[in-house]
Symmetry: C2
Subunit: 193 residues, 2 copies
């Protein structure tokens, strides 16, 4: 019943980090496709089954750090100031996420992802999961009062903005441009007063 506090959790987290770090290092050194799971496990000095007990798939090793992103969009909705409109809050968060991903330090990882169809596909489906949780957060806000379909649509549009802006020549300008479209799409669904 007591909350497990201590060494066990620390060791588990250490193993997880060691696997992820080793994997990312090998992937960047020699290419994602050129490094096998057995090799990652050997280099991290763990069993293959241990790798898969920490990560659901080989692709998940690459996106380990981005797990927090899942919640950030939803929190941008639920934690926004009581009187702040929805769209600017989302715009701000998407802009922050885009800047984080297009920062110089992330360039090698982004190049690796772009080079691997498997990683691109994984990221795409990850974004759709994020859209679902964002849609749930939007639908849960009673101040917004939209149908389920509108909430899901908005969520898709927002994650599209994230994906498209990252690939654009000028990410900041792209966020601006796309969010003008999203704002218009959202306004037209306002319930009649």
């Amino acid at each position: 019943m007591t909350v497990p506090t201590g060494r066990r959790e620390r060791k588990k987290a250490a193993t997880r980090r060691k696997i992820a770090d080793t994997a990312l290092r090998l992937f960047l050194e020699r290419g994602y496709d050129a490094v096998g799971i057995r090799e990652v496990a050997a280099e991290a000095d763990v069993a293959v089954t241990t790798v898969f007990s920490h990560f659901a798939s080989k692709e998940a090793l690459v996106f380990e750090q981005d797990e927090g992103f899942e919640q950030r969009l939803a929190q941008a909705v639920t934690n926004r100031a009581p009187d702040e409109p929805l769209i600017p809050a989302l715009r701000r968060e998407v802009l922050a996420l885009v800047r984080h991903c297009t920062a110089d330090g992330a360039a090698p990882i982004q190049r690796m992802i772009a080079a691997s169809p498997a990683l691109r596909q994984y990221e795409d489906s990850m974004r759709l999961r994020h859209a679902e949780s964002l849609a749930a957060a939007v639908a849960a806000d009673p101040a917004l009062a939209r149908t389920g379909t509108v909430c899901r649509t908005l969520a898709r549009f927002v994650v599209d903005a994230y994906a498209l802006a990252r690939e654009a020549d000028d990410p900041d300008a792209a966020v601006d441009e796309i969010f003008r479209m999203i704002e218009a799409a959202w306004e037209v669904t306002a319930p009649s007063r």
Copy 2:
């Protein structure tokens, strides 16, 4: 150089169709995951390598018939009447596609896809490919005069509409609702006259 006319092509097409038909039949009979590629090959009386010379992956066997869909959205743009506005033309095409997929005859296939994460993921990434060709078609129309980012964004929104409407309780109404949003998003990008 000469245009290949004849038996060779017919035999190849026949082999391809035999593989696809056999695979779909087995998948529907016993489930996508429960049928292996080796089994499909044996039942179609071809070698495993032959299956993969016709289809890039196991998932592609399921979506063989939907290959034409790739072009339909783009054609809805390029082949529309000279004075027809873009959005209604796209709305009409998406509605037709949604109705086609939610027709009674397609129900078992849709259920199979919904039951397999691998198939859902494959379809998601297929949609993104479709969005890219749609974006290219929109960008190529000089009468529209929008930036590349706007064209890509619109294309994403349109394929989102397709995906969301299919899952909605009332697909027709969802297409209506979502395309009102798309229309507004598109209008706000109109170049100043």
